[in-house]
Symmetry: C2
Amino acid sequence: MTALVFLDSEFPAGRVADATIPQLSVLDQGVTRGDGVFESALYTGSVVRKIDAHLARLRVSAATCDLVIPEEAVWRAAINTAIEAFDAVIPCDEAVVKLIATRGNEGNNSGTCWVTVSQAPALGRAQRESGIDVILLDRGYDSTVAERSPWLLMGAKTLSYAVNMAALRHAKKNGADDVIFISSDDIVLEGPTSTVLLAHRDGTAKRLITPTLETGILPGTTQGAIFEAAQAAGWELGYGPLTPAHLMDAEGVWLVSSVRLLTPVNSIDRTTINRDAQLHAELTAMVNAIG
Amino acid sequence: MTALVFLDSEFPAGRVADATIPQLSVLDQGVTRGDGVFESALYTGSVVRKIDAHLARLRVSAATCDLVIPEEAVWRAAINTAIEAFDAVIPCDEAVVKLIATRGNEGNNSGTCWVTVSQAPALGRAQRESGIDVILLDRGYDSTVAERSPWLLMGAKTLSYAVNMAALRHAKKNGADDVIFISSDDIVLEGPTSTVLLAHRDGTAKRLITPTLETGILPGTTQGAIFEAAQAAGWELGYGPLTPAHLMDAEGVWLVSSVRLLTPVNSIDRTTINRDAQLHAELTAMVNAIG
C-alpha cells in the first residue's frame, strides 16, 4: 500500500489521491525527460527522520535544476497528511517517505509535486545484518568535473537515475549486491543510492572518513548525521580524496543511506575486507539514534 | 492536442487514452528513476519518417537497459492508431511521434509503453531557417568511456535527460540556442538532442563528416539517412574523432535531429563560422527527401 498526497495550492494540507490508479500525465517532463528532483526519507517510530536535512537538500537539488518548488511548510503539511493516510491503513515499523518534484508538462509554468509513503523494502533490513558484496565501477567522470561543469547537475538528486539503476543491475549480474563508483582518475565517489564511509583505528583513536563533496557526489544526509554523532562521541572525522586502496586498508567500510541505514561491506571486487565488529556496533547505535 | 495510445496486450491495435487526464502511475520507474527509453520521430506528409530506424534504435536502447519491450509489429499498430486519432482532430503539417517504454512499477514484471502524437514545436521550424548560435560544453566523460563502461548506458536513448535539459538551459542563460558537447579530452560529441555534422569542400569534392560512434554518442537516425543520401549524390563520408578546431574550419556545421531536421550553426562560442549556402541547400534537399 502506498499513500499518495499531491502538493496542490487549492488544498493547504495536500490533496490525497489513490496511488493504485494513474495520477500523472504521460506528458510530464518528470517521465519524458527524467526532469525533476527527489528525496527518500525513513519513517519509523512515528518520526520522519532527518526531515530538515531532506527538505534542505531537495531545495538545493531544485535550485541546481532551476526548478521552483513549494515552500517547506507546504511539503511538511503534505508529508503529515500522507503519513496519517498511511498509518490509518497499514502501520508498520519502517516506511519510505518519498518527495518528488518534476518540471510538469512542457509549456506549463508549474511543476508537479507529490509525497508517497510506502512500506520499506525487506531487502535493505536484511542487508544491514548480513552485509553486502560490492564491486567498483567507473562513473566515467573525473573527480574535478563538478566544479567546472555545473550543467552536469553533480550533487543534485535528480530523477535521471537510469545509470544508477544500470550499475546496480550490473553488480547483480556479476554476483554482487551493490556498487561503489570510482572516478576516471581512480578516486572513490559514492554508491548509486548511498554514501561511502570508512573507519580506522589509530591506537585508541577512532577515525571516520567519507569522500569529499568536491568530487561531485551527493551530500549524504545520513553521513552528515552519523558524522555529527561520531564527533560528539569523540571520533575524529576525515574527508577524502580516497582511493580504492583506502577502502581495502580500512577497519570497516559501509554504505549508508536514509532507508537502508548503515550497511557493512563484506567484500570489494571479491576480496574480503576488514569488518571491525566493535566499530560497527558503535556506528549502528549512532544511526539508530538519529532523530 | 496530443493523441495517446498505450501498448496493451488486450488491445491488439493499442488502447486509445485521453492525454489531458492522468494516465500514468506515480510509482512508475519511468518517473521515479528516469528508467526507460524513448524515440521521437517526425510525422509529415502522411508518413512517419525513418520509422524502421527509430524502432531499431528503440530496441537497442531497451536491450542496453535490460528492458523487454513489445515486438515491432505491436509498436507499428499503436503508432497507426495514434496517428489516426491525431489526424481526426488536428491534422497539421508536422507532428512529433514519441515512443516511450518504461520499466513500469517496481516489482511488476512488465513495463509501461505508449505512443503520443503532438504538433511539432514552431521553434524548430524557425531555427531551420534562421540557424542557431551554439556553445561548447564539457560532457564530463572522456571519449573512450563507452567501450569500458557499459553500465553508463552511452549510446542508449534513455528517459534520464536531466543533464541534456540543463545544458540547454545553460546555453539559453548565456545567450545561445543550443549546445555541442565536448568530451573531457576535447573531442566533439553531440548536441543534447541532436547529432553534429560538418562539411568540407576539397576542390570539386564534397565531404560530410560526423563524430565516430566510438565516443559513446547516440547513433543519429537523421545523420544515417543523410549520409546515405549524400553518398548516393557522390559526397565523400567521414567519421571523427573531431576536435573543436574542425568545427571552426568547416564550410558548414549543422545539428540534425528527427524533428528539427537540418539546423545550420551560425556561431560557436560567439565566433561566427562558415555557412556555405550551396552545401546547405544540397543537404536540405536530401533531408526533405528522407522517407
